[in-house]
Amino acid sequence: MDIRWVWESQNLAQRTLEHLRMFGIALALSVVIGVLLGLYLYRRPKLAPIAFNVLNILETVPTLALLVLLLPLLGLGEKPTIAASVIYSILPIARNTYTGLTSVERSYIEVAKAIGLSEREVLLKVRFPLALPLIAAGVRIAVVFTMGVVTLGGLIAAGGLGAPIQTGIHLYDRDIIIVTGLWVGALALILDGVAALIERYLRDRYGRR
């Protein structure tokens, strides 16, 4: 097997950059939207069951079906790929943010109130830090989802590492398939590992128990 040939002929260095760029944009958007939605639902808990039910249904939609359904709206390429990644990733982040904010132990809140913190300060200085480990766990799930969707983006001309995988399958070229497939897999494991480390750090720093 000629790894170098595959790497150069398929432009894997550039494909990897494209892949990580889409991944980065999608994940950043998901974190911002997810955390904000979680905060919003914390303020309006009555809406929470409806919002989570809708997101749960979206979550079951087959990835490729969602991608192709976004085509008429957003065209081919990066945009629908990023949009689909965000749609799948909002749920774990928003749900964990919401759960994290609402499940803070009463005694902490009471102490915070007793020393004279306002509602807003309780939220930002007590609830939010204590929710961080759970939020990070949600982000870690989103990392895995986003990696999967971005890889599929190759099928709708978004570039990234899905593109050479598609080429490999169409040419029935085992070298391209194995090298690119294993490389995407390794990349996914590395990113998941990094997310796990961050989650563990936050759990040690702010964890309960």
Partner: protein, 205 residues
Amino acid sequence: MVGVERVLGAFGEHLVLTYASLFLSIAVGIPLAILSLKSKRLASFIMGFANLVQAIPSFAVVAIVVPLLGIGFTPAVFAIFLRALLPIVKNTYVGLSEVDEAMIDAARGIGLTEWEIIRYVRFPHAYPAMFAGIKFAAVLANSIAILTAIIGSGGLGSLVFEGLASFNTDKILAGSIPAILMAVFIDISFSYLEKRVTPEGIGGG
């Protein structure tokens, strides 16, 4: 327009593909979870492996199967099986192993054998977690079964890919809408099944 027969045929293939892989994963996953109860080492190996493989994009798994098994229906079933197996093993094992020790002791006290304890004590308690895993696996299988059309599995995915190649929106819709309805159906039916099977007083709330 896409002919109704074509869509129904593709839907049929999709169902066979999804459920064949799902049943295979259940048939392998549950015994594997029971085996993991017997050995701590096997359990930590399987759980570690499951967590690892779950992070790998489905498209990569589907692609890697091609050099190993070629293209067509069987390799597609194998790829879906690989992805669907993990949530089933993981959730079943967690459900089975998190039963209150006192309850196991009580069961032993009234003379149940190891197997009877698994069958009558551990399993009913594991149902909620197990069904959550199976539901997740079914949704996953339904999703990947579209994707495997790229390695020649047939089914609704082939309509999607044909539509994609020729920019034919009708074909894209004819392939993706039934798959989405299927996903919603799976979600509802498995939730219902879980409620029916779980004995009163266990899990759920």
